[in-house]
């Protein structure tokens, strides 16, 4: 049986008829073609599928699309506004916070949620915040630097607040 859902994603309202068992990540990737959100495991460990739901980071492989009904989501595709990169995107580029790029969308989204609640995180805060996101390439060193870069930039430009969603 199909369920009608209505979800706001990156500021756009989407309506879809979905099976009850459809995972949110598959709604994003397969139905809406938002393929920036990735899948890296089956057990909610890797965080490649992390998106913001009502401002909180969630692993979209462990949420049914129907559970997102009426909610507001942000994915990696929603980070840049009017062609202007979000400071977290800038940070990952400037500090070489990515290599293969596969974990990167989830890492950036998780980091945005951290910076929204903690604009001046310590290294320990950052490492704890991203510990639900696995990266196999970078050893996390430059991801931490990227988040610090974004934190500093956001503090100096409050208008670009990290919590927007």
């Amino acid at each position: 049986m199909a369920h009608k859902i209505r979800v706001t994603i990156n500021g756009t309202v989407h309506e879809a008829d979905v099976e009850a068992r459809l995972l949110l990540v598959h709604l994003l990737r397969e139905v809406l073609n938002l393929t920036g959100t990735h899948i890296g495991c089956d057990t909610t460990n890797c965080g490649a599928c992390t998106v913001l739901m009502d401002g909180r980071p969630v692993k979209s492989c462990t949420i049914f699309a129907v559970q997102a009904d009426g909610r507001t989501l942000m994915t990696v595709e929603g980070l840049a506004k009017d062609g202007q990169l979000h400071p977290i995107q800038e940070g990952f580029h400037e500090k070489h916070g990515l290599q293969c790029g596969f974990c990167t969308p989830g890492m950036m989204i998780t980091s945005c949620a951290l910076l929204a609640r903690n604009p001046n995180p310590s290294e320990e805060d950052i490492r704890w915040a991203i510990s639900g996101n696995l990266c196999r390439c970078t050893g996390y060193v430059n991801i931490v630097e990227a988040v610090k870069y974004a934190a500093e930039k956001l503090r100096s430009q409050p208008a670009a607040a990290g919590g927007r969603s």
Binding site: R21, D42, L98, Q99, P105, R136, Y140
Partner: protein, 782 residues
């Protein structure tokens, strides 16, 4: 204005632009019209006879189109496929499964979820058979013979040995001091965050197969497909392999897995595109493993601590098929680098390959094949011997290192090391970490009963496979390639035979060309991974991209410069000999105002080329390296151990690497950070083990523990620079050094903390439980 940075600059990566926007194109991001989905039924048993496969319930599900079995494939001669190791491997079994999670049948459906429903509905009748998981037991008389398809009725695959056995035995007989240790290097998995998958699209009109595939070696795959499926009418010019953006490889995306073959077969069968994407559990449970070496090592030394001989005997557990992704001519890969950074008079190594009821492999897990095994062994043994002698492990290494003046150094196991300065690297690491002060602190802590350890690893790598006299893949020589086309406006497209999986080739290759031609990196587009457009190459693994394809890039650029000189001479009405090259331009010696930039020359190559010279400005190079490169480094790790829990805490880790001349320092540091973390992983966390029934332990991310940001220390890096004398840029490759060097540094630090209690060795991964047990066994209770 864009400028040419060239070598040695931390140019920000060109490829980032798409990845930070979520606009990369990984395999599962590609969707084709009318695409079908393939999913795989897997065996719950490690060894069993298949009595029957009942597809009826699956076929009754709307949207399930077919259930493919081994018997179906057998009709087309596709039930088995060859491996790179002169063995063969089942695509799907006809009657017997040999490991848990082995592919048993494939379900083809219109949608992903329906294919999974189909997998759940296929009924298979099994009759379990006796299981062999221990390679030692596999060799015992009376052990069940796993490979009934072979003429040889035992589980032994091959014996390989290298070195002078008689001289080594003699050295041991007369030695003042000998040490011997068993070391097990467990089975692990690369677990790139993107799993494997493909889309096969067979065009029945053109008879052309397009295969998008998570592969590190697209050209070799094309040839393999042509060789394997040639009898079905697939010819190499009608096969296009495209390797899209790859979410990490580390060796795991070198092999051909049954899922790829099944997708191709299903597409040919249906005439529709077929997608196969494995999930994480399939990836961990059935894709190629790494390591699984049971080593017994012995060192002989003089009283003064000079090492004289090394003897190593190893059982290599290869699982059910010998499907190692090993491009060398030796079954144990480059294990013969095991004399490491030390000047031995004699050495002898032997390895026996064994079949067990485990998935096939292996692959390298971010190193040249079997180099980490070799490096871990010699660095652990060096530490054990130093401790036996009561000598500081740093002094011991300094005494035994190959001297800087001895390069090029011929090792007793047959390699010629290109260049090195091991003393300088270790000295730098010791200075950076404050070695003497740490030893003092350790002594004071020991008096108080606190456990602190300092571990060193001074490794030598061997990368850049490889010279065609030593390497091939199914006979294909291991050159690599670059094709550079300079357009009339001075912009460039360059294509390479390799394939980045995150290494940043689009940036570093552009830097090489910028360095050689003076064309800005921003004006250079780099492409890889499409066999219809890129020149033939053997791919990216074993840290071979810079040593081989990077060299090809430099050589192709130099060919372009040679032609540019002729055009410049024509334009400047000067003789070629009178022209001088300064990056980006030719000028007449003594008259710097008479100058033509590379961009002006490029334009002239298409608009005003000299008589007798062909138009255009393009070049291609296939580079067969004269030797391998030998990066090295010295790592020092400091650990504190909690006596109550056995937990090992890495307090500091200093890594001094030497990869020769550096193209992009930022990217090199990033590679080392990642490599160190993949060295930490097997040292403390990762292991795939099996119970006696062959059930996998470590088959999902719930219990196969990749380090997170919380476990990973803040790595401290430094470097020395000893250029490779034979590489055109003096570079050596760096992607894997840290994975090779790090495990021994960590294990050595742990044992260093416990040696005074009588603990001589703990096998990796060094879990709190193992340390706790070792402490309790020595009477430490608190």
């Amino acid at each position: 204005m864009a400028i040419a940075h060239g070598m040695g600059h931390s140019v920000k990566r060109k490829e980032d632009a798409r990845f930070i926007r979520g606009k990369g194109t990984y395999i599962d991001d590609i969707k084709l019209s009318g695409m079908l989905y393939l999913d795989i039924v897997r065996s719950p048993y490690a060894h069993a006879t298949i009595k029957a496969i009942h597809p009826e319930k699956a076929l009754a599900i709307p949207g399930v189109l077919a259930v493919i079995t081994g018997k179906d494939l057998e009709k087309y001669g596709l039930a088995w496929m060859p491996t790179l190791m002169s063995d063969k491997q089942m695509v799907l079994p006809v009657d017997t499964v040999l490991y848990q999670s082995q592919e048993v049948a494939a379900v083809l459906a219109t949608e992903r979820y329906i294919a999974a429903d189909g997998v759940g509905a296929v009924e298979v009748e099994y009759e379990p058979l006796p299981v062999v998981v221990d390679p030692k037991k596999a060799l015992e008389p009376g052990a069940p013979v796993l490979r009934q398809d072979r003429a040889q009725k035992n589980n032994h695959i091959w014996h390989w040995q290298v070195g002078d056995q008689a001289a080594t035995d003699k050295a041991f007989q007369g030695a003042d001091i000998k040490v011997k240790q068993d070391l097990y290097i467990p089975r692990i998995h690369v677990a790139s965050i993107e799993t494997c998958g493909c889309i096969a699209q067979w065009d029945p009109v053109d008879g052309k197969l397009t295969l998008w595939m998570t592969t590190q070696a697209p050209h070799a795959i094309r040839t393999v497909v042509a060789l394997v499926a040639g009898h079905l009418g697939l010819a190499e010019h009608k096969i296009r392999v495209i390797s899209p953006d790859i979410g990490g490889g580390f060796g795991g995306k070198v092999p051909v897995y049954p899922g790829y073959v099944l997708a191709v077969a299903a597409s040919v069968l249906t005439g529709k595109p077929v997608k196969w994407i494995e999930d994480r559990m399939e990836n961990l449970q059935a894709d190629s493993f790494a390591r699984d070496y049971h080593i017994t090592a012995e060192l002989a030394a003089k009283k003064d601590g000079t090492m004289t001989a090394l003897r190593v005997k190893t059982l290599a557990d290869h699982g059910a098929f010998d499907a190692a992704a090993n491009p060398s001519k030796f079954p144990a890969g480059l294990f013969s680098i095991c004399t490491g950074s030390y000047d031995f008079q004699s050495a002898f190594a032997e390895v026996d390959g064994v079949y067990t009821n485990k998935p096939p492999g292996g692959i390298a897990y971010r190193c040249s094949f079997r180099v980490t095994e070799a490096s871990y062994m010699i660095e652990r043994m060096a530490d054990i011997l130093a401790h036996e002698l009561g000598v500081d492990p740093a002094d011991f290494r300094m005494k035994n290192f190959i001297r800087p003046e001895a390069f090029p150094y011929k090792s007793p196991l047959g390699w010629t090391y290109d260049s090195g300065n091991y003393q300088a690297a270790l000295k730098k690491a010791m200075d950076k970490i404050g070695y003497a002060a740490l030893r003092k602190e350790q002594a004071e802590k020991r008096k108080k009963g606190e456990l602190m350890g300092i571990g060193i690893s001074s490794f030598t790598e061997i990368v850049g496979a490889g010279p065609s006299h030593t390497f091939d893949i199914l006979g294909l020589k291991m050159f690599d390639s670059a094709e550079i086309r300079v357009h009339p406006t001075g912009k460039v497209i360059a294509r390479f035979g390799t394939k980045s999986q995150g290494q940043g080739h689009e940036t570093t290759y552009a830097q090489i060309i910028a360095h050689e031609l003076g064309i800005p990196e921003d004006d250079i587009a780099v492409e890889e991974g499409d066999t219809d457009t890129a020149p033939y190459g053997l791919g990216t693994y074993a840290s071979r991209s810079t040593p081989v394809a990077g060299a090809a890039g430099a050589m192709a650029a130099r060919k372009i410069r040679d032609k540019a000189r002729k055009i410049a001479a024509h334009l400047l009405e000067a003789s070629e000999a009178d022209l001088e090259w300064e990056r980006g331009k030719f000028f007449v010696k003594g008259s710097p105002q008479r100058v033509k930039t590379i961009q002006e020359i490029a334009f002239a190559a298409y608009t005003n080329h000299p008589q007798g010279l062909e138009a255009g400005l393009e070049a291609i190079s296939y580079y067969d390296p004269p030797n391998l490169t030998f990066p090295f480094g010295s790592y020092i790790c400091v650990v504190d151990i909690d006596k109550g829990t056995g937990e090992v805490k890495i307090r500091r880790f200093v890594a001094v690497d030497d990869c020769g001349n550096i193209i992009n320092p930022m990217i090199v540091d990033g590679q080392i950070h990642g490599g160190l973390t993949m060295g930490l992983a097997p040292a403390l966390y990762e292991e795939i083990s099996y119970d006696e029934d062959g059930n996998i332990r470590g088959g999902s991310f719930m219990d196969y523990l990749l380090p997170t940001a919380m476990e990973t220390p803040r790595w401290e890096l430094d470097k020395t620079v000893t250029p490779s004398p034979h590489h055109p840029l003096g570079a050596k490759g760096v992607g894997e050094s840290a994975t090779v060097g790090a495990p021994a540094a960590i294990a050595n630090a742990v044992v260093d903390a416990l040696w005074h209690l009588g603990v001589r060795h703990i096998d990796i991964p060094i879990t709190p439980w193992k340390v706790w047990k070792a402490l309790r066994a020595k009477g430490v209770t608190e």
